[in-house]
């Protein structure tokens, strides 16, 4: 016990890491479910439906399947590299999340902020540092499987990631110029306040161009459709992870989704005011939103359970309903309300972004490789550069005027 009081940093951090890891893993799993559902809806299908009510247990099933499959290693492959590649990918992807603040630093336990694992002065830089070496996972995987398609996939992905990383970074610099700091919390708190008392002062408004560049580059950075050349089925089977199977494959899979989450969080932080609420504080009603939302969801589930569900599914969904209602009522408790605000808005925004991701995947066709490169270097890069220049000029003008 006194150990805890002696080393609050250590203990609290460990706890936080454990919790976050659990949450993120679950989120990853259910992100796949989410994606499949949404894409299915876009293609007017039902999507996973039978494993659990609304296919809610599908991710669990997939995970088990991956675990129990045979783990094959190509005999000609470079064993060491082949093995570390997926670990590298997943580890880096998860590390990035450790830097994200999900809520205001004011909420603390033992003098440690609850909603973020680390609060670096140069958080953004470090995030970029980590994402920048995320390439290795893919590249090494491609190279080490010592096979044609993976090599091509690896080459493509490393080229693509290098190319788009430039625009990604540049598109963010505009925000940095405005915020004047690299620390996430400062960036977020810099976005508090409102234009005309109701439009939130989010950087997306002055930095619209930057935001568009960012989101495009981000999609490319995470190798998602329409930029998923490294794993273009029609061209190179499955790209860099063709030779991978079982859990190694699953790691790449998770890494990709983790990266999605990371870039969505980053977009939220940089352009959409992180855990800040979109509504002015004067609208006191908003503190009830999280709870109310959950309760409503619960009611919907209840109705669904009673009307549509039959047999085991009905039972399962009843549990879901209970969870929603209980969670909602917890969120409505007076001492929970303020605490839950930040994470609520943050997750809402992130989910919106994820939905956007899935949406694009459901809608857009895939680029051709040369188109991809041209787009990256000849359109995205110049535009983000121009945005940077314009921003800096606008920022400098007042100094010029007042000497």
């Amino acid at each position: 016990m006194e150990f805890i009081t002696q080393h609050p940093v250590l203990v609290v951090s460990l706890v936080k890491i454990a919790v976050l890891l659990f949450i993120v893993m679950t989120a990853l799993a259910y992100l796949t479910w989410f994606e499949r559902k949404v894409v299915a809806r876009i293609q007017s299908r039902w999507g996973p439906y039978y494993v659990g009510a609304h296919g809610l247990l599908q991710p669990l099933a997939d995970g088990l399947k991956f675990l129990f499959k045979e783990d094959m290693t190509p005999p000609t492959s470079d064993k060491f590299t082949y093995t570390i590649a997926p670990f590298l990918a997943l580890a880096l992807a998860l590390t990035a999340i450790a830097l994200i603040p999900f809520g205001p630093p004011s909420v603390q336990i033992l003098g440690q902020p609850v909603f973020m694992i680390s609060n670096l002065d140069i958080g953004l830089l470090f995030l970029f540092a980590i994402t920048s070496i995320g390439v290795y996972g893919v590249a090494l995987a491609g190279w080490s499987s010592n096979s044609k398609y993976p090599l091509l996939g690896g080459l493509r992905s490393s080229a693509q990631m290098i190319s788009y990383e430039v625009s990604l970074t540049l598109s963010v610099v505009g925000v940095l110029l405005i915020a004047g700091t690299l620390n996430f919390n400062d960036i977020i708190s810099g976005q508090s306040g409102y234009y005309l008392h109701f439009i939130p002062r989010w950087h997306v408004i002055p930095q619209l161009v930057g935001f568009l560049c960012y989101i495009t580059a981000a999609i490319a950075e995470t190798n998602r459709i329409p930029f998923d050349l490294p794993e273009a089925e029609t061209e190179l089977v499955a790209g860099f992870h063709t030779e991978y199977s079982s859990f190694k494959f699953a790691m790449f899979f998770m890494a990709e989704y983790a990266n999605m989450i990371t870039v969505s969080c980053l977009a939220t932080i940089l352009f959409f005011g992180g855990w800040l609420s979109p509504f002015p504080d004067s609208w006191t009603g908003q503190v009830f939103l999280p709870g109310a939302g959950l309760v409503l969801l619960g009611m919907y589930c209840a109705w669904d359970t009673i009307i549509n569900m039959r047999g085991i599914a009905q039972l399962q969904f009843a549990v879901v309903t209970m969870l929603c209602l209980v969670g909602g009522s917890i969120c409505l408790m007076p001492w929970v309300r303020p605490v839950i605000q930040g994470p609520f808005w943050f997750t809402t925004k992130v989910i919106a972004f994820l939905f956007f991701y899935v949406w694009t995947r459901g809608t857009l066709p895939r680029f051709r490789y040369d188109q991809l490169m041209d787009f990256g270097w000849k359109l995205l890069l110049p535009v983000s550069l121009a945005n940077l220049v314009v921003t800096s000029f606008v920022l400098v003008v007042p100094y010029l005027r007042h000497g």
Partner: protein, 170 residues
Amino acid sequence: MSVPFLVFFACAFLSVLGAVLLLVSWEPIHSALSLILVMMSLAVLYLLLGAEFIAAVQIIVYAGAIMVLFVFVIMLLNAGNEERTDWSKIAKVVGLPMAFFLLLLIARGLSRSVIGATIANGVGARSNAGVSTRDLSTALFRQYLFPFEATSILILIALLGAWILARKDD
């Protein structure tokens, strides 16, 4: 033995290990990986020295860009194992002893010489906290503006040079 010491020696060990691996591995990509290891541990050392920004830049530029470039080229050229030709005579006769001599010499000199001594006796101790990124940027854009611009020109030239060299000559 305090935490920083542990960190330092761990990183030092890792970096030296990486360097040695870089030398002994016949597979270029393994050399690349070990070099990345060196860079990572150096980045940690920079953090230890309170140079956050440099650490980040070290990772981003070196590990994230330069080494990726190396790996990329290795993959592109599909560089296999290094051919084992016999050593160049000069290297055998001069290089090896010279290199180690140099190594020892510098190490000894540093530990004995004015620099090493004085700093070991705690000049380091009176050094201020790790410089903030803000100070660094101020120095870069005020005092060192001209070199900074010069480097940007240099980068541009390098870009063009690389393009000229690597394009398909038709």
